[in-house]
Amino acid sequence: MNGRVLVAIALLVLAGALVFAARPHEATADERIDQITTELRCPVCQGLSVKDSTSETARQMRDLVAQRVREGKTNAEIEAEFRTAYGDWIFLSPPLSSWSGLVWLVPVAVIAAGLGLVSARLRGPGAPAPTAPSAAQVAALRERVAREEAAEG
């Protein structure tokens, strides 16, 4: 009995700790700067984020993001400022809501169309529906059966 109580208490403590760790919390200024600069593309690098780049341009962009965060701007407002200057290109992941979002949608649409075509091909033209024999066919068949029975008899 004591053992079960201890296990129950331990499970409760563990669940509480997990809930506490996973609770939604407001991102700190540093976390927000990291979030934003991870999404921004370094304009003078090859596929590097502003956060990861050591270039002078990336440093200046990080400084600007940090200043805007200190000024109380939201992430969306800061990202909009960079979008105004550089277009959607400045984001490493193009937003779905703009024309650039086609880079996400087109491959999915092409794969779906390809699967549709393959599936249609695999199913083939389909077997023709059975039709009832005509009266003449039935009469000829009966005549043939009668003939074969007479021959066997």
Partner: protein, 175 residues
């Protein structure tokens, strides 16, 4: 039959897309700033003799050129800039050089060495370049008398492109 039509449509789409993409001048990248009001700025002159505000140039055709002494293409394009500056210096066209990511001393020495008679300013923290969406020098922006960015050229610019950009804006302003 359906498959063939689908393939033809897909190929046609590809050809049209590539055709449109290759028709564009790679120096004329239409990022967010073209067609919009030029971001305002006030920067200190490279020689330290006061500030220059873009707002003070309202009503004029302004050619903003981002440059740096460490940028080889900037040196290549400089003779064209000098010729165009001489051609328009007594008109309503203002050329403004914005020194990019460099110490004021180096920038000023370069300006004197290259015979750049037009106004040059220092963008020490790079904020102006970022607000214009500059990728790297040289880059040139054509701003109309209405304060709107009418065009942008990435890379070294030649005299013909400069004159065309300026004349287009002057003609538009004269109408």
């Amino acid at each position: 039959m359906v498959v063939r039509v689908a393939i033809v449509v897909a190929l046609l789409g590809l050809v049209i897309t590539l055709g449109l993409a290759f028709r564009r001048d790679p120096h004329d990248i239409r990022t967010g700033t073209v067609g919009k009001p030029a971001p305002a700025f006030t920067l200190q002159r490279l020689d330290g003799s006061g500030d220059v505000a873009l707002a003070d140039l309202s009503g004029k055709v302004v050619v903003v050129n981002f440059f740096a002494s460490w940028c080889l293409p900037c040196t290549e394009e400089n003779p064209a800039l000098v010729r165009v500056y001489e051609r328009y210096r007594s008109s309503n066209v203002v050329m403004l050089g914005v020194n990019y990511q460099e110490s004021r001393e180096n920038g000023l020495a370069y300006v004197r060495r290259m015979g750049m008679g037009w106004t040059t300013v220092a963008d020490t923290d790079g904020r102006v370049a970022l607000s214009y969406g500059v990728f790297g020098p040289p880059e040139t922006f054509f701003i109309g008398p209405d304060g709107v960015i009418a065009g942008r050229h990435i890379g070294p610019i030649d005299e013909a492109t400069l004159v065309t950009g300026i004349e287009t804006l002057r003609t538009r302003a004269a109408r």
